[in-house]
Each structure stands twice: as structure tokens, then as C-alpha cells.
């Protein structure tokens, strides 16, 4: 006798609904965002004033330097700065 009857299979399929489209897309675009993030991190490592500004107010500091503070980039930078 099978352990996997229709009811069980149906339940298991239902346990993995799609993640929200925006979440998936943001993660998929990580390589593209990474170039910009690397640029900002390099700049922060070379420029103490810029780094202090990032730590004080990330979004404002990015905008002041002409970077678009996209959530993907902001979140990733926040994580990287916290890890340092």
C-alpha cells in the first residue's frame, strides 16, 4: 500500500505556495544590485566621513551622493554595515 495517497500528495503540494513575486524578483536581481553595493562599500571604506553619514542616516547619505536608495540596496548595505 502506498504511503502517498492523493490526499497526502495534495497537502504536500499545498505546503509550498509561491513566495510573493516582489520578494523573488528582489533576490533574483541581487547580482545587478551587488555592483552598486560594492561601489558604495568601497567608498565607505575609503572615506570615513561618508561612512559616518551612512551609519547616521543611510537613505539620506545615499541620496546626497547620487545613489538611488532602493530597498534591496538599502537593506543589504544595512546588513553589511552592521556586520563590520
Amino acid at each position: 500500500m502506498s504511503n502517498y495517497d492523493a490526499e497526502r500528495l495534495a497537502r504536500l503540494i499545498g505546503m509550498l505556495p509561491p513566495a510573493p513575486e516582489g520578494w523573488v524578483q528582489a533576490a533574483q536581481e541581487l547580482p545587478a544590485a551587488r555592483g552598486e553595493i560594492d561601489q558604495i562599500v568601497a567608498r565607505a571604506q575609503a572615506d570615513a566621513e561618508f561612512r559616518a553619514a551612512l551609519l547616521a542616516d543611510l537613505e539620506t547619505a545615499l541620496q546626497a551622493e547620487g545613489f538611488e536608495p532602493q530597498p534591496r540596496v538599502v537593506n543589504e548595505l544595512r546588513r553589511l554595515l552592521a556586520d563590520e
Partner: protein, 205 residues
């Protein structure tokens, strides 16, 4: 707060957990800087990470989203240090669990180091079931498109016979019978992947 859900069409278009590349081959391509492979890797594991965070650890949607993004950011950064490419799935699962626990801790909940001790952490059998669900989705990905789509839309995306029927131009009754036939196919495919079924009384513990 309820996590946002996709509209059916968008979700259906990316519900095809493609089985063309093995996990190891996919990881190797990602490591070479293949952006398309990276997109596929995110697609392949997105439901799993999402389910662990939301169903397994019952994180609220905003926390689950942070964990979700953090998991893939770390995977992207650390893919080069993965010792065995075909171990990417348990690695991602472990990373997701750890980040979920970190999130619970940062929320001020009492979290120890032993998973079994944690009131807010899922029992191991929930996580084991999610792994089993992943296996079922892999078998589903190997089915013909018409079965894959209809089973995923009905069971995973909770669409009605009518919604599916309208979009496929089929009567609701046909959808119902197709679901039944496709589940049979899935069972054959899944059990074929796992080997002969063993009655629970005979399972080795």
C-alpha cells in the same frame, strides 16, 4: 499580518520548478557568474525558504521578508565556500533556520540553542514535512506542463476550478478530472523517485 500573495498568472509563470539542471550544476553555473542560473536558483528555493520562515517559524510577513532576502544575500556571497555543490539544499535550509532563530531572538523572545526547547520554533516534523513537500514539488516539476500547472494552481495557489478553467478555457468538471489524473501521475513519478513505498510499520527508525 498576512503575507502578500501573487496574482495567479504571475505565480503560475514562475511555478515551474525546472528540473533541467541538478542542484550541483546550477550552483556551479552560479559560481561562474551566470546571472540566469542565479535567477533559477532563487526560483528553485524561494518557496522552500518562504515556507520555512512563514509556516515553520511563523514569522510575521515583514520579518519573513527580511529573512528571505538575507538568506539569498548570504547564499550569493558564500556560494564559493560551499564544499559540496549538491548539498546546497540542506545548506539553504540550515541558513534559513538560523536566520529565523536570529530574528526571533532579536524580537526579544526567549530562544535557547536547542531547537527542541523553543516554544516558538517548529517541531522537527514540520521542517521534515517541508522537505518532503520540496521532494514532491521536484517530482511535480518533472511532469508534463499541463499537469504541473493545474496541480500547482489548485493546491499550492489555492485557485478554484472555475478560475483555472476560465484561464485554460476548460469546463470546471474537466479541471476536476484532470486534477485527479495528474495526482495519479504525480504519485507514480514521486514514488518512482523515492523507490518502493515502505509501510510505516516496516520503516527503519
Amino acid at each position: 499580518m498576512e503575507a502578500p500573495r501573487d496574482d495567479g498568472q504571475a505565480a503560475a509563470s514562475r511555478s515551474k520548478l525546472t528540473a533541467e539542471l541538478t542542484d550541483a550544476a546550477l550552483v556551479a553555473r552560479c559560481r561562474e557568474g551566470d546571472d540566469e542560473a542565479w535567477r533559477e536558483l532563487v526560483e528553485r528555493f524561494s518557496r522552500y525558504v518562504y515556507a520555512i520562515a512563514l509556516q515553520g517559524f511563523r514569522l510575521p510577513a515583514h520579518d519573513a521578508e527580511d529573512v528571505f532576502q538575507d538568506v539569498f544575500a548570504r547564499v550569493y556571497e558564500r556560494l564559493g565556500s560551499l564544499r559540496e555543490d549538491d548539498a546546497v539544499r540542506p545548506w539553504i535550509a540550515q541558513l534559513t533556520r538560523r536566520l529565523c532563530i536570529d530574528r526571533l531572538r532579536s524580537g526579544g523572545r526567549e530562544v535557547g540553542t536547542d531547537l527542541e526547547e523553543l516554544a516558538d520554533v517548529p517541531a522537527e516534523d514540520v521542517l521534515t514535512e517541508l522537505e518532503e513537500a520540496f521532494d514532491v514539488h521536484e517530482a511535480l516539476a518533472a511532469l508534463p506542463e499541463n499537469c504541473r500547472e493545474i496541480l500547482d494552481r489548485f493546491f499550492a495557489q489555492d485557485e478554484s476550478y472555475r478560475t483555472i478553467g476560465d484561464s485554460l478555457g476548460l469546463p470546471a468538471g474537466t479541471i476536476a478530472s484532470r486534477i485527479s489524473r495528474c495526482l495519479e501521475k504525480l504519485r507514480g513519478a514521486f514514488e518512482g523517485r523515492k523507490g518502493p513505498a515502505v509501510p510505516s510499520s516496516e520503516q527503519v527508525t
